[in-house]
């Protein structure tokens, strides 16, 4: 109750006073404090554009060396940061301050975000973190992604500076319009666990790419080839923590941001899409986009206001909820025609698509099935790039009470007649039998 009134109040504020919304830090899913762990402080200047774009969007960046012994993610059980950028591909063993794989995974499992970049030489630590998130870097530690067709002519002769243009088609992840320009990539490839529905490959290699040590004579076919090589992937954990895994640290560098690209075999040059890609992905990862919340779940009988503790079979009910999307600054009504509600008891008895009024209110009405039991209103909304909404609300459905059945049934009139005629007949018979001589 309390939380719903609070969110109602919040809703009022959202609707009436959009200017004030930025003040609501407790309900602001965008990260604030970001710890940036660098292998080498030189990275701070070589990747300055990326970091500058972050700090200009309001993030407090805390740069630390990855082997700084005073590193700590949490103090007194509270996390000091909302997100972590790990630009330290070759740190072995564990990070400074005894941060190991488990500590970083705990950080993620408690709902914090992570940007992870690998490079041509990537330590086991980074590989393990990635593996735990469902992203497997090529096990061959020497291997890099090589493409003898789609490479940038600026690169070295081993064709490891490749051009990626196979991007995921999603405005939520890549921003409006997507990334048009080719993306420069130099690093290692990875594969994603196909069983996982939490990983999305954003940038994959072209069909002619393969992952192998450069300048080596291959005795056997490489393990990763073609479009199954993922270059950049996104993971959204079940608790909606977001992880960006890139096989290339250079992808975020000023050099790649600024360089113009000429693809091998083509005569035209264009700017690289790296800056747009990196910035948009960081926006997504830090919850500036694609973050939904559902509030004010409400259901009641048609014609009533209050939520009942129990429905009766064949009742007509109305169900509604409000869904908002975070824009990075404010909650705005979410608009979609594919939100569905299930009336569920071991299997969905009713499945309805919700209507919406354009102001974030999704609603529908239906009749309770003629089955009693403990039902749930279930909304399971999973869309690419959006946080997954899973709501369930338990509500029992009871059968008719003893006095809710029809009192007289038309089909039974012959029986009523039979009963009453029998009674009168017996009465008359009794009188005749007793008093008639």
């Amino acid at each position: 109750m309390a939380s719903s009134t609070r969110s109602q109040a919040l809703l009022l504020l959202v609707v009436l006073l959009p200017a004030l919304v930025a003040a609501f830090s407790e309900d602001n899913p965008t990260d604030q404090r970001v710890l940036v762990l660098l292998e080498d402080l030189a990275l701070k200047s070589s990747h300055s554009i990326f970091f500058k774009s972050l700090s200009s969007r309001g993030y407090e960046l805390d740069f630390k060396l990855a082997d700084d012994t005073k590193l700590a993610l949490q103090r007194y059980g509270e996390y000091l940061y909302d997100a972590l950028i790990l630009f330290a591909p070759s740190v072995e063993g564990h990070l400074g301050g005894n941060l190991d794989v488990a500590a970083i995974l705990d950080f993620v499992d408690s709902g914090h975000d992570l940007i992870l970049a690998a490079d041509t030489h990537t330590s086991d630590l980074i590989r393990d973190i990635a593996t735990e998130c469902g992203v497997d870097f090529d096990e061959d530690t020497e291997a890099v992604v090589i493409d003898h067709i789609n490479f940038a002519i600026e690169g070295e002769s081993d064709h490891s500076l490749i051009i990626g243009d196979k991007l995921v088609e999603s405005d939520v992840i890549l921003g409006k319009g997507g990334v048009k320009d080719p993306v420069l990539f130099r690093g290692i490839g990875h594969s994603v666990n196909p069983a996982s529905d939490l990983v999305v490959t954003v940038l994959s290699a072209s069909p002619s790419a393969f992952s192998a040590p450069p300048n080596a004579v291959l005795k056997s076919p490489p393990a990763l080839t073609g479009t199954s090589i993922s270059l950049v992937s996104l993971v959204q954990a079940r608790n909606n923590a977001r992880i960006l895994v890139s096989g290339s640290l250079d992808l975020f560098s000023d050099k790649f941001f600024k360089s113009s690209v000429q693809k091998f075999g083509s005569s035209s040059r264009s700017g690289s899409g790296n800056e747009k890609l990196a910035v948009e992905l960081s926006k997504w990862t830090f919850h500036e986009r694609g973050h939904l919340k559902a509030v004010n779940v409400n259901h009641h009988k048609v014609g009533e206001k209050d939520e009942p503790s129990m429905y009766r079979i064949t009742d007509n009910l109305e169900y509604s909820l409000e869904i908002y999307e975070w824009t990075g600054k404010a909650w705005k009504p979410y608009q979609a025609d594919d939100v569905q509600v299930q009336f569920y008891m071991m299997s969905p008895y009713v499945l309805k698509t919700l209507d919406h009024n354009g102001k974030g209110l999704f609603y529908t009405s239906f009749q309770v099935p003629d089955v009693y039991g403990v039902f749930q209103f279930k909304v399971e909304y999973r869309r690419l790039g959006y946080t997954s909404l899973t709501l369930s609300k338990q509500i029992p459905v009871r059968p008719f009470r003893h006095n809710e059945y029809e009192r007289f049934i038309k089909a039974a009139y012959p029986y009523y007649g039979g009963a009453f005629s029998m009674m009168t007949g017996f009465f008359i018979f009794g009188i005749v039998f007793l008093y008639h001589k």
Binding site: G93, V101, L105, V108, D109, D124, L125, R127, D128, A130, T131, E132, C133, G134, V135, D136, F137, E139, S191, V192, N193, A195, S196, D197, L198, V199, V235, A237, R238, N239, A241, M310, M345, M346, Y372, G373, V374, F375, Q376, Q394, P396, R398, P399, R401, H402
Partner: protein, 825 residues
């Protein structure tokens, strides 16, 4: 006490003194019946016992809180999740309404009883009522003396005590009273021909229908008796009045009980009564027409009616058979079918066969439950034939059917007990009557009686002083007198059957008494010895009953005790676990366990359960059975679909509690396999043997039940070997980890182990192996002497955790003493 008291009024006859004495005796019998059942309260505490009573208690609480209409319409969403259960329509409301009314009356009189107190003492109160109605019933058959004896016997018969000790708040507690009372009213109507009693009889039957599913016994036994009377030419208008209103009114009233409803006219259990009803009408018409027609006209009429009647009857029967044959169970419910065919349940319905009280009893259980009555019953049967009346045929029929049913299901021993008490009461009273009479006659007339009886009795009586032998001696003595009496009644019978006036059996006995005097007097010494032996026998019965009430049948089964050299140990693990659940889990969390513990979980922990002791949905139970017999991951998925958050198992291996879940596990496999064929019983057995040691099958060792029972068990046992004290063997798989469940609570004696389902993984792992594995230093492998100490440390740590003792820097000596203190035995 009882035997002497009971015997005296039967010998004294007539007068106010006798009636006051018998009223006083009845009161004492009532007090005895009530107080012998209080051992459980005195030895343990005033709690509800076992499983079903907890449900009844919960329902009564709801009734007292919400009122009768809410109770009638109660849809319970906290059990059988997510199906729910319509309690109002599936429960026999008699017990609940009775206890609720008692509670309400007490409160209306400003006696502030709690609902629990009312529930705890319902069964003892009603056993006093049952004793009184047994008195009334037996009085209808054989007079006051037999009645008082039977009442005294039933007041303390162990079989009945086992179901009606204080706290055993179950349907049977009131149903036995209702059963006996209905029979009494039937006999009363039969003896008096009064329509008033017939109506009361229907009402008593209604109360019985409200109380217990065993009412079908009444509605089949009474028609059988009516049929017997008709066949043996004992039809009378009294019989008609006793039966016809009962069927019509009784069926109408039974149909009012929601749980019975249309079953009262639609199931095969009730067909016999309607068939006999029709036959009775035909017989009545035949007798009537015979009276008003001349013999010749009557013969013609019979011929016509017979030909037409057989054709109609045959077609009707054919239709009926066709109708019944369309239903797979032939219109019979599973429990009824397993009564008619004792092997039915074990063949087709594991869920019925799995309940121990549905198994056939063993011979010792007869001796345990009815003790000497088993020997007295045949004598009572013979006494019932001398003279044979309508009411004595009824009790004989009751006895015979009850013996059969008790042989099929141990639970129905309870129905047999009143019959045995009535018969034994009759036997004892007849024997005492004859013996005391001959003693008295000897004192009055010192002439020696006629010869041949004496030697038989003396040799028999002098042979041995053992109880069973003395019982046979008494029987022999009685057989003798009985055969003489038999001749007498044979002579008397034609006279009697000609008389049409209402004549109770009691009167006939009294009237015949003076006539008997001369013919059946036994020698003084023989009579005296026989009396002493009989008294001895009866006192053995009393001793046995008190012992059974105090030791065997008073344990509430939620609190266990064991006696060892250094005193009594109390195992209160069940309530500990339920209390933990109610304090540490969310209100709407679902808790899964085997169905035995469903009622207790809802009543004591107030948490939603998946299945409970009302086994109405076999598939749902089979689902839980399948989960328990599946490997961890599959089980987790099954439970996840049922929204289960906690799972608990009962484990007796540490303290040697034999009725734990591992011992019930094969039933889970069978019930699960009955619905889900991929669960095969053979996979859990090694060469047909059920075992949990190293020879056990991998399926068994990987099943969820095994894992939840034996998780961390080996560490907790003294030598780290994992010796299971119930199965008396070392367990097969000792160290394993749980991946989808985590242990959240284990009770003091490890009898209840509660696990929580881990939530779905936050992330999906990739396929690559983890390279930087933390080094596991297993000291046990490198340094064998260290094994003992680590095991010790771990066990003590566990024990400290359980005993809530801080485990800090315990040094070796402290450990040692702690260890010795904890495990002296």
């Amino acid at each position: 006490m009882t035997a002497a008291e009971v015997a005296s009024p039967s010998s004294g006859r007539g007068g106010a003194f006798a009636s006051i004495l018998s009223i006083g005796t009845l009161l004492l019998i009532g007090i005895l019946a009530f107080s012998i059942r209080l051992f459980s309260v005195i030895k343990y505490e005033s709690v509800i016992h076992e499983f079903d009573p907890y449900f009844n208690y919960r329902v009564t609480q709801y009734l007292s809180k919400a009122g009768i209409y809410e109770f009638w319409n109660w849809f319970d969403d906290r059990t059988w999740y997510p199906l729910g259960r319509v309690i109002g329509g599936t429960v026999y409301p008699g017990l609940t309404l009775t206890a609720g009314t008692m509670w309400w009356v007490a409160n209306a009189l400003n006696i502030p009883l709690s609902v629990e107190t009312a529930c705890v003492f319902t069964a003892p109160v009603f056993s006093a009522f049952a004793a009184w109605s047994t008195y009334a019933l037996t009085k209808e058959v054989k007079g006051i003396g037999a009645g008082l004896t039977a009442a005294a016997l039933i007041a303390m018969v162990p079989s009945y005590i086992s179901r009606s000790v204080a706290g055993s708040y179950d349907n049977e507690g009131v149903a036995i009273f209702a059963l006996v009372f209905t029979f009494y009213l039937y006999l009363k109507t039969l003896n008096t021909g009064s329509l008033f009693y017939a109506t009361l009889n229907a009402l008593a039957y209604f109360y019985m229908v409200c109380s217990w599913g065993g009412y079908t016994f009444i509605i089949n036994l009474i028609p059988m008796h009516v049929l017997l009377c008709i066949v043996t030419g004992r039809y009378s208008s009294r019989l008609y009045i006793a039966y016809s209103p009962l069927v019509i009114l009784g069926t109408l009233l039974a149909a009012l009980v929601p749980v019975v409803g249309f079953n009262a006219v639609m199931t095969s259990e009730h067909f016999a009564s309607f068939l006999v009803f029709v036959i009775l009408q035909v017989v009545a018409i035949v007798y009537y027409t015979k009276r008003i027609l001349t013999p010749k006209a009557f013969r013609v009429a019979v011929a016509v009616v017979l030909t037409v009647g057989t054709i109609v009857a045959l077609t009707l029967i054919a239709v009926l058979i066709a109708l019944v044959a369309t239903s797979p169970t032939k219109g019979w419910s599973g429990r009824s079918l397993s009564l008619l065919d004792p092997t039915y349940a074990s063949k087709y319905i594991p869920i019925i066969a799995s309940v121990s009280e549905h198994q056939p009893p063993t011979w010792p259980s007869y001796f345990m439950d009815i003790n000497i009555l088993a020997f007295l019953v045949p004598a009572g049967v013979i006494a019932c034939f001398l003279p044979l009346s309508d009411s004595s045929t009824f009790v004989v029929l009751y006895l015979v059917t009850a013996v059969y049913f008790s042989g099929v299901m141990v639970r129905l021993m309870l129905v047999f007990a009143p019959a045995a008490c009535i018969m034994s009461g009759i036997a004892l009273s007849e024997a005492f009557g004859t013996l005391t009479l001959s003693v008295k006659y000897q004192i009055e007339l010192p002439d020696p009686p006629t010869g041949p009886v004496a030697p038989v009795d003396q040799t028999a009586a002098g042979a041995t002083s053992e109880t069973s032998a003395s019982a046979t001696a008494a029987d022999l003595a009685k057989d003798k007198s009985v055969s003489e009496k038999g001749k007498e009644t044979l002579r008397e019978r034609p006279k009697r059957s000609r008389k049409k006036e209402k004549e109770s059996a009691e009167k006939s006995v009294v009237k015949k008494a003076p006539k008997k005097k001369a013919s059946k007097v036994l020698p003084f010494e023989a009579s005296a010895v026989a009396i002493v032996l009989l008294l001895l026998l009866v006192s053995f019965y009393v001793i046995h009953c008190v012992w059974a009430a105090a030791e065997a049948y008073s344990a509430p089964s939620i609190v266990l005790t064991s006696h060892t050299a250094d005193g009594m140990h109390v195992f209160d693990d069940f309530r500990e676990a339920y209390a933990w659940l109610s304090h540490n889990t969310e209100e709407n969390d679902k808790v899964a366990s085997w169905w035995d513990y469903g009622y207790q979980t809802t009543a004591m922990a107030n948490r939603t359960v998946i299945v409970d002791n009302n086994t109405w949905n076999n598939t749902h139970i089979a689902t839980v059975g399948m989960a328990m017999s599946s490997p961890e991951r599959q089980a987790w998925e099954i439970y996840q679909t049922l929204d289960v958050k906690y799972v608990f198992v009962i484990f007796g291996g540490l303290v040697g509690y034999p009725s734990d879940d591992i011992n019930k596990f094969l039933w889970m496999v069978r019930i699960g396999g009955g619905v889900f064929p991929h669960i095969k019983e053979a996979d859990y057995l090694r060469d047909g043997q059920y075992r949990i040691d190293a020879q056990a099958t991998p399926t068994m060792l990987n099943s969820l039940m095994y894992k939840l029972s034996y998780y961390r068990f080996a560490e907790a046992t003294m030598d780290g070997k994992g010796y299971d004290r119930v199965r008396r063997t070392e367990i097969g798989k000792k160290s394993f980890k749980l991946t989808h469940f985590e242990e959240v609570f284990t009770t003091h004696h490890w009898m209840v182990r509660i696990y929580k389902l881990k939530p779905p993984k936050n992330r999906f792992r990739g396929k690559n192996k983890r390279r930087t594995k933390p080094m596991i230093t297993d000291r046990r492998n490198e340094d064998p002497p260290y094994l003992w100490l680590t095991t010790l440390y771990r066990s003590v740590e566990v024990k400290c955790y359980l005993a809530k003792v801080p485990f800090g820097d315990v040094d070796g000596r402290q450990l040692e003493s702690f260890w010795r203190h904890k495990y002296r035995n």
